[in-house]
Amino acid sequence: MLELIPLALTLVALAGYGTGLHRLRRRGVRWPVTRVAAMLAGSLCTAAAVLPPIASRDELFPVHVGQHLLLGMAAPALLALSAPVTLALRTLPRRPQRILLRLLHSFPVAVLAAPATAVVLNLGGLYALYLTGLYQAAEHNDLVHAAVHVHMFLAGGLLSWAVIGIDPVRRRPGTWVRLPALIIAAAGHDTLAKLIYAWNLPAGGGPIASRHTGAELMYYGGTVIEVALAAVVMAQWYLVSGRALARTRRSSQSLGPQLPIALPSRRRGWAPLPLSHLGRISHGPRAGHKRHRRRNSPGGELREPVQANPEKLRPHPTPVSARVASVSPAER
């Protein structure tokens, strides 16, 4: 009976997501299909982890590790990429939407959403599970077993949400916080896998060979997922900084020449740029762009286009309330 609860929860989440999609579609609002795919794939991973044949054989250590990879790493990452909170904020009725918004702005959520919290909860849970007698206890007690799985999923979800999440949180840390957080979590995970191998853990994990196989699966499987997460973090950085770069280029192109007069030259050190280049790229100030000139570059000086600082730019620079407010009245 206990096995059916996670499946039921997955189905409820899917139904909720589907309802949200339906409401958006009725309003004629587009929702990226990649997010829907992420939701479906995440649900699939969750279901695979909690259903037979995996769930019924998780007394074998390698199977348990497979379950851990699916439930604690792959599924949360995919679900975080499906932007469930954004969808909820855009489609919930007014009152629950307010409650959700207040919750998102609350102090406990800010603490939970911090990468440091997520890393500590993840690694703490994992180290406690495999280095202490917790794994053995979970084998004998269904409730402990369930609690371990819930913690695994939630802690993984928190980490994914903090590191690759695209939902609006109050202060999303920059790339150069999220990437090191990911490295620490990944290093802790890989170290634990080797400790399990070295010390023939976990207690109650069956034959030594089986424990070793599990540890190796944890090490290499974990690496694959961690590299994928890093690719997502960097791709998000690349897209955001690309938008910033395009903005700077647009505004500096309206100011005149955008290249520095002098460029490093292979042969002569600093060489002046041929005037033909300036002629080709300078379009002169255009009407309607004077605002930029005044704000960005006093006196219309040459503005180097590469100075935008992508770390300053978050995927969602506007506060949650402002974004929701800007969306809801029009759609309502």
């Binding site: 990911l182 490295i183 170290t191 590299v227 890093a230 690349y238 002098a262 180097e304 590469v306």
Partner: protein, 171 residues
Amino acid sequence: MASSHVAGDGRDAAAKQTRRSIWSGVLAGVGLVAFIDETVFHQLLHWHHFYDKSTLAVGLVSDGLFHAGGFIAMVAGLFLLADAHRRGGFVPKRWWGGLLLGAGGFQLYDGIVQHKLLGLHQIRYHVTIWPYDLTWNLIAFIMILAGVLLMKGQAGIARSSLLRSDARPAG
């Protein structure tokens, strides 16, 4: 217009581009060695062992950090490389210099600290080990030397990409 001011701006920007290229190279270099170590020596040749009974616990921590960090560094380095190209500020000589420094530095750390001091694992088992260790660290040393050489002297921004991406008209 103060031309010296403009040239100074350009020089600052060029220094920034150069730093970007160097860091991109260093990260890619660390990642490259981590990748070669994992695929060639662990998986293909089976020279290295997943775990060696003489390993200290701190060796496992170091290994975990460099295993995860190496692969993630490769991903980050490649995205930084794409970014440098996109900004038209890719400095090939410095990138290769950074790559060799990163790769050599990590290989030297692996060869001396991880293999020898922390006893993580040896390069190969059931053989006379010192020629392997010598070759390993010598290659690391040569890579570092080549990297240092590439870091010196004039280096130009890759011109073609600079003109291609920066000279694009607005619309």
